[in-house]
Symmetry: C2
Subunit: 348 residues, 2 copies
DNA sequence: ATGAAAGCGCTAACAT
DNA sequence: ATGTTAGCGCTTTCAT
């Protein structure tokens, strides 16, 4: 920048004014400066600028794991919107590890980010730091899963309604012995999906023993493991609603290894509608959420806040939609018959 | 930091020395400083530190797209290794867009990263900037695909050998009319895979019309499109080797929409062995590369260089292995018979 | 409208 | 062994 000042024969301050787009600089000088910038291929040092401005063009983004396609899609939505507006995403993989999330959050704060997008793995732990970010002047948005006492901006999906619709569909097909594999009960998204599942059951006057609702970890391994548990139960459920597609994929594997067929013996519905849902066999029915939009909307909120939006708290809730594919069918006849014989008056 | 100095009743420089781990500070002082750090929950401002040191703990990483599971896996390998060593990954999605890659590269340089990991989409364009990074003191490693005149560190897979083994396997099953869908011919990884394919053909004395080797774009859409072209050719190929799994997935779709069956009518082998390969129907045979390792090794190289390794250029080449699944079978009998009738003396 | 200069938080060279 | 201070590249007030 010093060189530019020398080359254009102006002061340092003038160069800065030109670069910051201040209208106070007159045409001849402005032009000379811009030419010098071109000639030298100058790029402003973001470290120095950030230090001085007390703010960089970084937006921090905390997720569990980019190699999970759900998070990857949210990241892309956020990145596209951020990039278009001149902001850059700094991705932090927490791996659902409290310590790692904390380390990232603390350190990233000292990079003076303009904003923070959190898909936390620790509903409790991140809140205090998030508030610190806000106090320090960063715009903060929680996405997909929320801490209970967060009073700032949020973007989520209609978890409960999506789960409700999926469950209702299964019930409509004649399923009476349903089961569910949830994610971590700490996560509000998973909690709401379980609530939607229960709501549909309640409306249909179906009561389920508690063990038919298993709690997993939002990955394939968990899905396999919990589905195995469910398949060993007696009576065996005729439908599994999984709180996300990864769990559903694991469940599909378990069903296969059990020598059972999906959907003939047991129906499966997932959540998220990942790309992979249409590729698996049988193709997986799933509750679609606008994953890319989740990120895009969050980033746009941040950008708006940075640009001075001081309006009240925003809580965007994106719609979900049931995508039916081959993994769903009415319950098997013989099972229904068997159950009827064994428990003629049962509520199940 | 000023506050710490005050609280511990020492000078600013001493605080800095303690934090930088210099052994010159005596125990009593050192302890007082550390206590003050704890008490205040101090975190060093990375912007200021980086500005002064002329280097941050950032490692830039340029990829096409995190939502592509291949890149996501490489990123995770790199992130884990980087994080363990105190470095943070700054992900840049180039989207195979030269301008975007350039923008990211130029701007990120002003964040004074310690290192740069590039999986470039522009074999030519990135080279000049990469050299700039090197000159500026950043460690640079090219991964998976290389510019032709790069003389620095690299990590790649055995693209050619992997493709060779896959093709040889198809030939061994009796396939004589093979086809291939490559990625962008500009990318060295794709080029080497095509070379491996050709090498196996050559050894088996099989000649192919040029149109049986199509060039795509490393995504599903391209796979679908190019496979459609291939399926319309006469004679129709009995096997498709796709330069990556995404292309193979698209090809699988095309085959299905054509009313053909895989592997009965046509065999398919992909490359990368993504998780999804075992979930699709038929499960996809693929050339496995150690995707996670690709990133992990690259990050380790960077860390080593930062820590003073001044040894000669390193060119790590990771092994590949053919993973056979359901998508591969011998060529259909009737086709072979038909072809024999139509072109009794043909080389194909 | 332009220039001069202070200072963001830190490190490192130098002085004590 | 510890303290003092210049300065990294930039923005922003304050003079001019």
């Amino acid at each position: 920048m010093k060189e530019i000042a020398r080359l254009a024969d102006v002061s340092l301050g003038t160069v800065s004014n030109v670069l910051s787009g201040l209208p106070t600089v007159r045409e001849p000088l402005r032009k000379r400066v811009l030419e010098a910038v071109q000639a030298l291929g100058y790029q402003p040092n973001q470290l120095a600028r950030g230090l001085r401005r007390d703010k960089t063009n970084i937006i921090g983004m905390v997720i569990s794991d980019v190699s999970n396609p759900f998070f990857a899609a949210v990241v892309r939505g956020a990145e596209d919107t951020a990039f278009k507006n001149g902001y850059r995403l700094f991705i932090c993989n927490s791996d659902n590890d409290f310590t790692k999330e904390q380390t990232y959050l603390r350190e990233m704060q000292t990079y003076l980010p303009s904003g923070l997008i959190i898909m936390t793995s620790n509903i409790k732990g991140s809140l205090a730091l998030a508030e610190e970010y806000r106090k320090a002047g960063s715009a903060v948005v929680y996405v997909d899963r929320l801490p209970h006492h967060w009073t700032g901006d949020t973007v989520t999906s209609m978890h409960e309604d999506g789960a409700y619709q999926a469950t209702k569909h299964l019930i409509g097909l004649g399923h009476k012995l349903l089961s569910m594999i949830g994610g971590s009960s700490q996560l509000t998204n998973s909690g709401e999906r379980v609530a939607g599942f229960r709501k549909a059951l309640r409306e249909a006057r179906i009561t389920l023993k508690p063990e038919y609702i298993q709690e997993g970890k939002f990955d394939k391994e968990s899905g396999y493991q919990k589905a195995t548990l469910l398949l060993n139960m007696s009576p065996r459920p005729t439908a599994v609603f999984a709180a996300n597609d990864l769990l559903a994929l694991g469940a599909l594997n378990a069903i296969r290894h059990f020598g059972l067929r999906c959907p003939e013996d047991i129906s499966v519905i997932g959540f998220d509608n990942l790309d992979v849902a249409e590729f698996v066999t049988p193709s997986l029915s799933s509750v679609e959420q606008s994953v890319y939009q989740l990120g895009a909307v969050a980033a746009q909120m941040i950008v708006d806040r940075i640009q001075g939006d001081t309006g009240p708290r925003k809580e965007r809730v994106l719609t979900t939609a049931l995508r039916l594919r081959a993994s769903v069918a009415p319950p098997p006849m013989q099972d229904a018959a068997k159950r009827a014989r064994h428990k003629p008056s049962g509520k199940n």
